[in-house]
Subunit: 395 residues, 2 copies
């Protein structure tokens, strides 16, 4: 009596998340993790959540604990529409179970087997994982410090049945590079996408985490009918509630909603009401600046440590204007994947850049997070990383 588990073809293509496997390794005590994208727990407004839980259950406990509409909780949809910096109709806001689910739902409704899908170089690993089960042909668009190159986007947009279903972009403090798309590049990209008739999928989990100046207006604000916008409460409130959202044009909202119904009926109503309660009275306007100040300080600590420790090692890195990550390029001949065990031996971890390329990877790149560790840990961790690089250069 043995059972034949015949897997779907897409399951054969699924691989464990490199990031999550690395997170497991780095959970061993004593490791300074510059790898994971875990927001600093110092930024979680625990007391405000405790008050919100009590209020939600006292005001309408049975309502908060019952099945609810797939679209999401009305007052939260409205609060999101009001918070966004362009004219958004709350009817176009769909609440998702984290913004990872938004990627899954968009993939389901827009990707057929072999559909052409465009991404930045490099791009967010979680997006690739969400798209892969729908078996697209993923094409990397060449990118520089300001995001995708318009000429390469035009060259790779495809035509007819081979036209790209969408271009996925993360314009603000990108994961993994930390780079931000300039105002000029945004204007040109929206123009080119509209001319080509290629939809843009805009992911913006980090946009509120700017250090000195807010980033330019989202792409979606410039052509709402040609873009899907994704946002998240994971970085401005807390990731453990799994609350994200999509703003989708009327042309596709109903299909996205049907995919949502089939995926999990609705996002937990209790969590939606908690966040709507916490957001009352302009809470985010007071809370988010404290996150910005903390992350800016930690980013500056990392930049200072890099300047000090990497002297003479031919290492390059960028200076992010916000977010959680920076991007580092190792000297010629040093591979980030080979370097990782040597770094872990020295009690510091990072994510090799190779994880973030849809096609050909640059093996010399790696991602560093400056938000999970303290200023002291960052200094120690970067020194250890420099030591590992020095050692690798010798070898």
């Amino acid at each position: 009596m043995t059972t034949n588990w015949t897997l779907a073809r897409r399951a054969e293509k699924m691989n464990p998340s490199v990031i999550r496997e690395i997170l497991k390794v780095t959970e061993k005590p004593g490791i300074i993790s510059l790898a994971g994208g875990l927001p600093s727990p110092k930024t979680f407004p625990v007391a405000d959540f405790a008050g919100a839980c009590a209020a939600v259950l006292a005001q309408d406990g049975p309502g908060a604990l019952q099945y609810a509409a797939s679209e999401g909780y009305g007052p939260l949809r409205q609060a999101i529409a009001d918070f966004l910096p362009w004219d958004v109709d709350a009817e176009q806001v769909l609440i998702t179970t984290g913004s990872q689910q938004a990627l899954d739902l968009v993939a389901k409704i827009l990707i057929d087997e072999n559909s052409r899908v465009l991404v930045e170089t490099p791009t967010y690993l979680g997006a690739l994982q969400a798209f892969t089960p729908m078996e697209p042909a993923v094409v990397s668009v060449a990118s520089d410090d300001e995001g995708v190159l318009i000429d390469d986007f035009k060259a790779k947009a495809g035509t007819g049945a081979g036209k790209a279903r969408f271009l996925y972009v993360l314009p603000n403090f990108q994961n993994p590079t930390g780079r931000t798309m300039s105002e000029a590049r945004r204007a040109a990209l929206v123009q080119a996408a509209a001319e080509l008739g290629v939809p843009l999928l805009e992911d913006n989990p980090y946009g509120d985490l700017w250090f000195d100046n807010p980033p330019p207006l989202p792409l979606t604000a410039r052509n709402p009918e040609g873009c899907i916008y994704m946002g998240s409460f994971s970085k401005v409130l807390a990731p453990g509630l799994r609350l994200g959202f999509v703003v989708a044009p009327k042309a596709i909202f109903p299909k996205l909603l049907q995919a949502k119904q089939a995926a999990d009926l609705h996002t937990p109503g209790f969590n939606q009401r908690m966040v709507a309660e916490v957001m009352k009275g302009g809470f985010l306007d007071r809370h988010v600046p404290t996150i910005r100040a903390l992350y800016k300080q930690q980013c500056e600590a990392m930049l200072a440590a890099l300047a000090k420790e990497m002297q003479g090692l031919s290492v390059q890195w960028n200076r992010p204007d916000g977010g959680m990550f920076l991007w580092l390029r190792l000297p010629e001949g040093v591979s980030a994947i080979d370097l990782l065990p040597q770094a872990v031996e020295r009690n510091v971890a990072f994510v090799p850049g190779a994880a973030f390329y849809a096609t050909e990877a640059d093996p010399r790149t790696l991602r560093l997070s400056f938000v999970t560790s303290t200023v002291e840990q960052i200094a120690t961790g970067i020194a250890a990383l420099a030591d590992a690089i020095r050692n690798a250069k010798k070898g």
Copy 2:
């Protein structure tokens, strides 16, 4: 400047949930809804949840609000393994965002385009909605009051590349019919499935809601390596937390976990800890009997009202041993879909049975829920339904 939204083929096949569209209609004030499957809000342990929220945030607020493992919260996985009536390793338990998500994940890893998938006649609508995006060929297996007929299962199992990827069954107080699979049928089904090498997908959201005696042992307990088991906290605690789980054999657990990571990273950790906290000290053993007593009373009220009001109308119905639903068959020539507007006119709603058939529907069937309405509402609603049927028979 117009954007071409080219939908995936699967999105073209998606249709709005009939149940959810009906729920919208029945939300108008004054309607007695015997339609939706909403648990009675009287059964939600609001005060216990309030205590659990406060405890979880006080004990480890930052931990509860951080990103977490895709598998789920360890103590909750263990509590589920301990609660189930066979020897379950907590390592084989995957926490899902409601058991609807479990259906979505299983569909992703086991269904290719045109894969043969077997279901009961009738079957749970939400399962059909979760399977459809993966484009299976769904085949209905003939069923009687005890569940699927073994001979028809054997006849429809398929062979070679056409062998069924799984048979989906809901053995306890089935949605929509309320029927329960007998001990003899369970034994025969597990035997036949193992001989054929066809996996069983066992859905058990209602199993704890028995009236007088617990249902026979789950199918999965009889052959754990040949079955996937799905459970839910929606009916024994509250649906608004969206907490379900899967028990999966080692052969497929890693793929299910990868699908889970790609779908929403993990189920809200805060909710998982809340439920683990509420479950401490045998809470369910005290709480669930109160739900059983309430639903038994409401079911008996519905059976009494049917016996009284349907006299002489040639209407048939069953007597469930638990759960939330019963199944009714209208007299010859009366269609449930045609009857619905006439019922709504009389301020009572139900779900036409046609929604629950994967292939050919019996148009005379309909589903009644006895859990959402009070005993008084049930009496009034059944009288109104009888009036609508009497009227339809005349027409």
